[in-house]
């Protein structure tokens, strides 16, 4: 009989309290402050949003419009992700074929590439002559920036970007879930006479429901909070996240914070119940859903037919999605940077070339160097501080009775739209709040800590669970190791993979973050923010170069992750 009730290892109480204290102050406090800010300054909010002497409740109507748009975009992107992500996750989890790892990497790529760079690549690919349009011999982009997709009324380009950026969350979460489901359940169903599609519907999908839900939640939260790429491709549309950035930069802090806390509360209202449901162990859809007999029999016949004849479709279509949303934009950018190196190939102007824009009068090269320095300092500092917090926190989550509560709370910063996050940090620590720092590098670091801690903790926990760590540690203890010895000689070496993966994930995340950074950065521009600035200044070639630079940087980081996780 295994028991959880055993006495936890003696993490000295001091460490526990210090960790928890830092966790609450650095990670949780900003968000709650944002919400309380709205209540504390309700008068200001009311005047600015509802009873503006000049424009009346125009701001409120704006907020509503933007919120509806954002939700429409996010929900449709998640729906699309699920339709094509489920088969892809299944293939990755169950089939072994040459190039499987490569495919996995490609799917993960949008998680690693700074989103503004990625958004720019997508923009070039679809809406400019340098992309698919030129390739097909047109004189313009294939699709105009503001072309809408019918029914959902969302701009095509925005939709594509959001799908690409959220797809990995659905696929990777589901892949892990599928892998954790014993393959013999499927084999049993097959030997009982069910075709592979019937098996999928009856067995695998119900068992994987928690994975489907958490994947969808992550993707939804990501889409809702996405800023970097959205800023670049949004055209005339405005999402909730961009609106916050814009209002914050216009110093309409009351409107921005009202919008921000609305967004946070709505996101939580949708996401937290799902998280709580998923968090309970062994969740699955219980009853095999009932349906009329004729329909049931026909469905089974169709599934039998489809399992045999149509199985190629389920392999090919998701691949096509990945190809068009991820691979093509990257290739286009890499290709364009070469074509635009010395001059614009269409007009022939030197001013349109990469070299001129970098080293010419605007001297973007200098800005790029400065931005690189800022980005790396921010990423290193925030990851380092988060690390110091996350390692003990992961142990507390696994070892203390209140660990599960903390783990649920940890979801809070993960599902906050990043621009709300930036705003909350600005309000709390910035000049208007505790006045700890002015917008700039220190505030960026404080912001990045908020989302880095959960990322690292999650990856340590993933390594922790299923490692049988408790058993190894118990073993070490009875062999004569003190609790401290056991952690040092057994637990940490066994968790090394998880800790390092967490480090790199947090580092890349920090490197690529745009939404929150934009609000708190002041004059310390990071690389992804620089891309946005370049695009807004129409320095296309410089943006091309910077995007390439970011893509190469993230590919190196991705290779590092691979190297570290393969060992196990």
């Amino acid at each position: 009989m295994v028991s959880k009730a055993r006495k936890p290892l003696d993490l000295s109480n001091l460490v526990v309290w210090a960790t928890l204290g830092a966790f609450f102050t650095l990670v949780l406090l900003p968000t709650f402050y944002l919400i309380s800010y709205v209540f504390l300054r309700w008068n200001e909010v009311r005047v600015e949003v509802f009873e503006n002497p000049i424009i009346g409740d125009e701001n409120w109507r704006q907020i509503l419009k933007v919120l509806f748009f954002s939700f429409r975009l996010s929900l449709s992107a998640v729906a699309f992700d699920l339709i094509f992500g489920v088969p892809l996750a299944y293939i990755l989890a169950r089939k072994s074929f040459p190039g499987r790892t490569l495919l996995e990497d490609i799917v993960t790529l949008p998680l690693v590439i700074p989103t503004s760079g990625f958004g720019f690549s997508t923009l070039i690919t679809w809406t400019t002559v340098a992309g698919i349009g030129g390739f097909l011999g047109l004189n313009s982009g294939l699709i105009s920036l503001n072309a809408l997709i019918p029914i959902i009324n969302v701009p095509f380009i925005l939709f594509v970007v959001h799908v690409a950026l959220t797809f990995p969350y659905v696929v990777r979460t589901l892949e892990t879930k599928f892998q954790s489901i014993d393959v013999t359940f499927e084999l049993a169903s097959r030997t009982l006479g069910a075709s592979s599609l019937t098996t999928f519907r009856n067995i695998l999908l119900p068992l994987a429901i928690p994975g489907v839900l958490s994947g969808a939640v992550l993707a939804f939260a990501r889409s809702l909070g996405e800023t970097g790429a959205t800023l670049i491709v949004s055209g005339v549309s405005t999402t909730a996240s961009i609106a916050i950035v814009r209002w914050a930069s216009e110093f309409k802090l009351a409107t921005a914070s009202f919008m921000g806390s609305l967004l946070v509360m709505i996101a939580w209202a949708i996401i937290l119940p799902v998280e709580v449901y998923v968090g309970q162990r062994g969740r699955s859809l219980k009853v095999p859903y009932r349906m009329p007999r004729a329909l049931h029999d026909r469905l089974i016949k169709f599934e039998r037919f489809a399992s045999k004849r149509l199985s190629r479709i389920k392999d090919v279509v998701p691949l096509a999605v990945v190809l068009t949303t991820v691979v093509i934009p990257i290739i286009v950018v890499l290709n364009s940077v070469i074509r635009y190196w010395s001059a614009d190939p269409y007009t022939g102007k030197v001013q349109g070339g990469v070299l001129y824009q970098l080293f010419g009068p605007s001297n973007y090269f200098n800005s790029l160097l400065r931005a690189t320095l800022t980005s790396i300092i921010v990423a290193l500092a925030s990851t380092y501080i988060s690390m110091c917090l996350a390692v003990p926190l992961a142990f507390i989550i696994e070892r203390r009775w209140y660990g599960r509560i903390i783990r649920t709370i940890l979801k809070v910063p993960m599902i906050i739209p990043t621009s709300s996050l930036g705003l909350s940090v600005l309000l709390l620590w910035g000049p208007g709040g505790f006045n700890l720092a002015h917008p700039g590098i220190w505030l960026i670091i404080l912001t990045h800590i908020v989302f880095s801690v959960p990322v690292i903790v999650e990856s340590i926990i993933a390594a922790y669970e299923g490692s049988g760590l408790q058993m190894y540690e118990d073993s070490a203890r009875t062999l004569g190791a003190t609790p401290y010895n056991a952690i040092e000689t057994v637990s940490l070496p066994l968790l090394k993979g998880g800790v390092l993966t967490g480090f790199i994930l947090s580092f890349t995340r920090s490197l690529g973050e745009t939404g929150a950074t934009f609000i708190v950065m002041g004059r310390d521009v990071t690389i992804p923010a620089l891309v946005v600035n370049m695009v807004e200044a129409l320095a296309i070639s410089a943006a091309l170069f910077t995007s390439t630079y970011l893509i190469v940087l993230s590919l190196i980081l991705l290779a590092l992750i691979r190297l570290l996780t393969r060992r196990r």
Binding site: M1, D474, T478, G480, A481, N485, L494
Partner: protein
Amino acid sequence: MSLIKLVNVTKRFGEITALDRINLSIEDGEYVCILGPTGAGKTTLLRIIAGLLDPDEGEVYIEGRPVNGVPPERRNAVYMFQEYALFPHMTVWENVSYGPVIKDWDRDRIDRVTSEILEMVRLAERKDAFPHELSGGMQQRVALARGIASGARILLLDEPLGALDARLRVDLRTQLRSLVKDQGLTAVHVTHDQEEALMIADRVVILREGRIEQVGTPHEIYSEPRSIFVTSFVGGANFVEGNVAEVGDSGSVVELRGGLRIQVSKRGRSIGEKVVVAVRREDVTVGTEKVTGSNNILGMVGSVLFIGGSIEYEVRLENGERISSRILLSDAPKTYRVGERVVVSFPPERCYVFPYPKAGLLKEIEAV
């Protein structure tokens, strides 16, 4: 003085009482097996001795010292997991020398002890291998070596042979025992395999639903089981229901279903009492002639099975009851076929008589 002593040890998990007032003493140098079905509380007991769990009530003494609250590393008792828990990031050498290194012995001593023990378990050649490169049997030996090298006096073995193939398990039993004995260690070994326990242990503790059902040498447990459960769980037996019909000086007579009467040498039951008579399969012989001094019942061979060097007959008696007989292949004078008419015989002194259990017979003997 006992090396390990448990006094009224009780452990609950929520509603479930995993251990209910356990009292047990284990002597220095003893090899004790804790035997019981899944969920009997065996592992909980072992973890409490190791200090990996704290009892809710009661005291644990090791070497006469109360150890409640003493952490595992200061109990001188090493716990070996069924899955071995070899540290995957360490070589065989590093695993085995883990205890000595962590205890900060001097370099020479660490090297000497480690190489001696690796030699002993015949793994010196594989000292640089990682655990996952070894076969199951080798991993088991590394785990054992690691435990011994740590200098602990007590080995706590949680199903140490459970992860191995059946045939290999049988071979390794005696090796395990001689290793422990040669090193002068004390072992507490948890298992659900009664054959394993009977063969290895100096003393067997039968655990059932958190309580000790019986403690004794393997021979005592087998030949003088105190309850129907122990009879059934250890060795197994034929169980028949009946009523005491006569009580005499040398024994009693029990009347079975259909009026069949058998002699039992146990006394002290009152006439009319409902009882269960148990006879070991090995104590029943099958023949064509009656055996004097035994109970002889006519019947027909219902099935013949071949089990690990023995022949097992299931004989259907005239009253519809079935009796099994197990005979070593080498002791079987001739074999009988299904359908043949035979006499089953068993001596009265080999019959156990138990009062009929309140919860019914099935509850006591059914394993599934």
